[in-house]
């Protein structure tokens, strides 16, 4: 089996895809070796989505106060850089490989073309992978939001355990995730 297909089989959401279709999807990706490289750069225009094949990546972002904070670590099988397929705008975090790493890369315009024109079994699998990656990221960001709200004292303990609404939206920023993202 193509090594790229072996990597894709580890991506959550790509269940049940027959081998020929998985191989076809895999051929859309380019396997690249990198060393301490920024694959996504906060503030830059997005150009591709990625799957980490080997090695690890760190996700960091700059807080409004200018502090650079690490918000997540990615492990093999993680799909990332895909939010640009769902939302407009620039990269919201920097993703950097730590040491040597291998990644699968799919340019966003090719991903869009594949989703629009590809065979159903292939595009459905890719959409499932995008849904799971996004939903995990959303769950992690939601959890972090609740933790931040609590640590900021915006939600006070309630012995009756009645529901505490989270604070209202304040300004546009994006992204945070947990290590399994």
């Amino acid at each position: 089996m193509d090594h790229r297909a072996t990597v894709l089989r580890k991506v959550p959401g790509l269940f049940g895809i027959p081998a020929p279709e998985l191989d076809e999807l895999a051929r859309s990706f380019r396997l690249i070796d990198v060393l301490d490289a920024d694959l996504c750069t906060e503030g830059a225009a997005p150009r591709a989505l990625f799957v980490l094949a080997e090695g690890r990546c760190e996700v960091s972002r700059t807080t409004p106060g200018g502090q650079r904070v690490r918000v997540a670590q990615l492990s093999p099988g993680c799909l990332f850089g895909h939010l640009s397929l769902l939302t407009e705008g620039v990269r919201t975090a920097t993703v950097r490989t730590v040491g040597p790493a291998r990644v699968l890369e799919l340019p966003l315009d090719e991903a869009r073309a594949l989703l629009k024109n590809g065979p159903l079994h292939v595009t459905s699998a890719l959409r499932r992978a995008l849904i799971v990656a996004t939903a995990r990221q959303l769950a992690a960001a939601t959890h972090t939001t609740a933790e931040l709200a609590r640590s900021a004292g915006l939600c006070t303990p309630d012995p009756a355990r009645s529901t505490q609404p989270l604070p209202a939206v304040q300004e546009a920023e994006i992204l945070l995730a947990d290590p399994r993202w």
Binding site: P12, G13, F15, G16, T63, P64, G65, Q67, L83, L85, L86, T87, T92, L120, H121, T123, S124, R127, R128, L130, I131, V132, T134, A135, R136, Q137, L138, A139, A141, T142, H143, T144, T145, A146, E147, L148, A149, R150, S151, A152, L154, C155, P157, D158, R161, S162, T163, Q164, P165, L166, P167, A168, V169, Q170, E171, A172, E173, I174, L175, L176
Partner: protein, 168 residues
Amino acid sequence: MSTAAPAPPPLPMTGLSAEDAALLAQHLVPRSLEAGEVLLRAGGAERVLVWVQSGAVEVRLDLNGQRFTVDHFGPGAIFGELGFFDPDHVRAADVVATAACEALILPFSAYAAMVSAGEPLVVAIEEQVLAQLGARMTATSQRLGGLLARRDQPSAWQALRRFLGLGA
């Protein structure tokens, strides 16, 4: 006198072909909830996708004994996607009706059968889920950004301690 069958609930998606609409209607399971009734429970692993038809639900997350409302869904909203598409996922939050609510539920087995049969309806379902996820991600990120900005601002107490040379 014949008794007419109850009218099927309106479909949660528009723009479907007649065949897709009929296929979707065949697999959706309607559910009525009273205010306060739990639709999905934390710790559960049932694989269902839920559309809200009427009424409202909220998502409640427990964190170390504190309960937070982290999202609200009204008519047209779709949720349950992580448990639906990710077989390893265990639900982290309760979804509770906050008003009388009508929901439509798609079991995963029905979706999987449609994928196997190559039904184009799965594309419409997946695209609707992705579109709503993108909107929710943006809203959550905005809220998160606001909280991070707030965390960066020193409190008056910290500022006073720094002014007095006592450290933050």
